[in-house]
């Protein structure tokens, strides 16, 4: 009999990370009704820029690079946590400008456009950062492992999980407790009314998309030490992200969080018995949930069904 507790804990921490990835995704789906297949690529952009900020990248050989690399790793890591998501957010805004051509058309066109964008971003990453597997250097303070009740846990996993909880709460508070959040939610509900009240809907959408993309980039920086960094990481990560959205119910904030925890748990427990099949468990979960609830756990009817 395998001791399940560490696998459950690992599954839950993984689930929290999945929730962090799905957060930006669900925001964009909820407000814009765009299934952003490039979400994983924005995740990758955040992570790759973080790699350059931490490791120097192309400017490592220059005098500036030598000075830069003499800065403490902790400082560079914190900077990476800010710069990676910021650049991913900018990329997301650029994508939103392209998406404008598809508004008012069936949701398929948004899906197709973002699929093309994912392909383009992946190729750009190959061009700039090469095709090999890379690693993000971590500061000493959050690296390593610790013992808890005779079980070894990775410190970084717990740091990342805590980070995810903080981010989830921050986004929730922003949506529920600020007037900007109220406008965003209203925009998802009735865009005509929001426009009539004098809000600039185009700017709202640009900002929401940029914010969602920045969250994807943030998830990239935080998750990549666990998940690994390679050019096609975008496709690898967008699949669990959108499975989580569907399981949770498209557009539902808490649905996505619950689904992410479920997927993490399923993968953790499957990993205990048949590690090679862990990924499969999330597809089975998807089919099981959608077999009973066609709109996912907490989903409501939306325009995406047309």
């Amino acid at each position: 009999m395998i001791d399940l507790l560490p696998h459950i804990i690992n599954g839950l921490t993984l689930g929290l990370l999945f929730a962090l990835i799905a957060l930006g995704f669900t925001l964009i789906v909820g407000v814009m009704e765009v299934i952003n297949l490039a979400h994983g690529s924005l995740f990758a952009i955040g992570a790759y820029f973080a790699l350059t900020v931490i490791g120097g990248g192309w400017f490592a050989g220059t005098p500036f690079g030598a000075w830069w690399l003499s800065l403490p790793l902790g400082l560079r890591y914190v900077l990476a946590l800010a710069i990676g998501p910021a650049l991913a957010g900018l990329a997301g805004m650029l994508l939103e400008l392209c998406l404008r051509a598809t508004y008012g058309k069936p949701p398929l066109y948004g899906l197709l456009l973002t699929f093309g964008a994912a392909l383009v971003i992946e190729e750009l990453i190959r061009l700039v950062w090469g095709t090999g597997e890379q690693n993000l250097a971590l500061p000493q303070a959050i690296n390593g492992a610790f013992l808890l009740n005779d079980m070894i846990f990775s410190t970084y996993r717990f740091f990342a999980a805590g980070f995810s909880i903080a981010a989830i709460l921050a986004v929730w508070l922003f949506l529920e407790r600020t007037s900007a959040g109220a406008v965003i939610k209203a925009g998802a509900h009735d865009s005509e009314m929001v426009r009539a009240l004098g809000y600039d809907l185009a700017r709202l959408r640009l900002l929401v998309f940029g914010f969602g993309a920045a969250l994807a980039g943030l998830a990239g920086v935080v998750m990549v030490p666990i998940w690994g960094l390679r050019p096609h990481v975008g496709v690898d990560i967008v699949i669990p992200a959108f499975l989580i959205i569907v399981i949770g119910g498209v557009g539902s904030f808490w649905g996505a969080v619950i689904a992410a925890l479920l997927v993490g748990l399923a993968m953790g427990i499957t990993g205990a018995y048949a590690a090679a099949w862990a990924t499969m468990s999330m597809y089975l979960l998807l089919i099981a949930v959608l077999g009973f609830r066609s709109r996912g756990l907490l989903g409501r009817k939306s325009a995406l069904e047309n």
């Binding site: 299934i35 398929l108 899906l111 456009l113 750009l124 499975l243 066609s294 069904e305």
Partner: protein, 342 residues
């Protein structure tokens, strides 16, 4: 924007002029390809993908159901063909039948699950199922060879009664693939312009209305999904013969997205022949852009994005647009269904 139902069809015709042109082109291809500096194998690739894309477009363009996991059925066809050759008998017809049946059965099961879904949920579930098949192909090492794939699939000879033709030569295989392609073309054309095809288009325009009119919509959605997976299986068996192997690669999300891109770029949403244009454009782009730059996929991706933004009706739509602009002034009112489709 024009749509498939705006283009006049002659439902009674089994053979149309474009088909004859295509047949002549296919006959001439083995001479044409070397003449423009290309190679025989390209012809086989194009024939395979056109057959796949035409079947896919029955679902995508005609019925408006967006499958993003169709590569799975291409792969299932390829594996089924290979496994049949290796474990049952070295037989061309047996292999083709096995491929069509295996992909069709998988498609029928998945289709039964999908057919009650609409819109984005449909698309997302097709990705989910496609990933499951891809995952199985990767993990079932004993059957599929895992990531290495199924190697050493023979090209069995073509037997027609007393006749026997070896297909080991790429030119012979091309003619065989072209002959199958012509059958697929006629079949798809007849189907698209039959009452069945009209119901499919009604579902695309307004599923609720089609249901209210009295059609059991899910049966049609199921039938067209299964049919398109069977054609994908057929294309997969040709792929297995062409490559003499089968890889999980074709089942990945990337490759499944590729056929969507081909069909859309070609104009499958507005034309029966759109998928053919899209497939040819893709392979020509691959060989021409690929000859110029390592990152040809980047450029193809950008072309695709521009198409979605500016010309979602694709190459075929642009051609139709040109043809419409040229004739002398004729006030053609938009057909009635088109205004309601939006």
């Amino acid at each position: 924007m024009i749509s498939l139902s705006d283009i006049p069809a002659r439902p009674s015709a089994w053979i149309t002029l474009p088909m004859i042109v295509l047949a002549i082109l296919l006959l001439a291809t083995p001479w044409l390809l070397p003449a423009v500096g290309l190679y025989q194998y390209l012809g086989i690739e194009i024939a395979i993908w056109v057959a796949f894309a035409l079947g896919f477009n029955l679902l995508f363009g005609y019925t408006g159901l967006h499958s993003f996991g169709h590569g799975a059925y291409l792969g299932i066809g390829a594996y089924a063909f290979g496994l049949f050759q290796q474990h049952v008998a070295v037989s061309l017809w047996g292999g083709l039948l096995a491929a069509v049946l295996a992909a069709g059965i998988a498609g029928a099961l998945v289709g039964a699950f999908l057919s009650h879904r609409r819109g984005i949920y449909y698309a997302l579930l097709t990705i989910g199922f496609g990933q499951i098949f891809w995952f199985l192909a990767m993990k079932l090492h004993r059957v599929t060879g895992g990531e290495d794939g199924l190697l050493g699939i023979p090209r069995p000879p073509l037997t027609l009664g007393p006749w026997q033709v070896a297909l080991t030569d790429n030119r012979a295989l091309f003619y065989f693939a072209a002959a199958l392609l012509m059958i697929v073309v006629v079949l798809c054309w007849r189907l698209a312009n039959s009452p069945f095809g009209r119901v499919l288009q009604a579902i695309r325009q307004n599923e609720t209305r089609a249901r209210v009119v009295g059609y059991e919509v899910w049966r049609f959605k199921w039938a067209v999904f299964t049919l398109s997976t069977m054609l994908a299986g057929l294309a997969g068996s040709l792929l297995a013969m062409a490559q003499q192997s089968a890889y999980p690669d074709v089942m990945s999300l990337h490759q499944s997205g590729l056929v969507v891109m081909m069909v859309l770029v070609g104009g499958g949403l507005v034309s029966f022949w759109g998928p053919l244009l899209g497939v040819v454009f893709y392979f020509v782009a691959r060989d021409v852009l690929g000859g110029l730059t390592e990152t040809w996929l980047l450029w193809y991706g950008l072309i695709f994005m521009a198409m979605v933004m500016l010309r979602p009706e694709g190459l075929a739509g642009m051609l139709h647009g040109l043809a419409r602009r040229n004739p002398p002034l004729k006030t053609t009112a938009a057909p009635a269904p088109a205004t309601e489709a939006a």
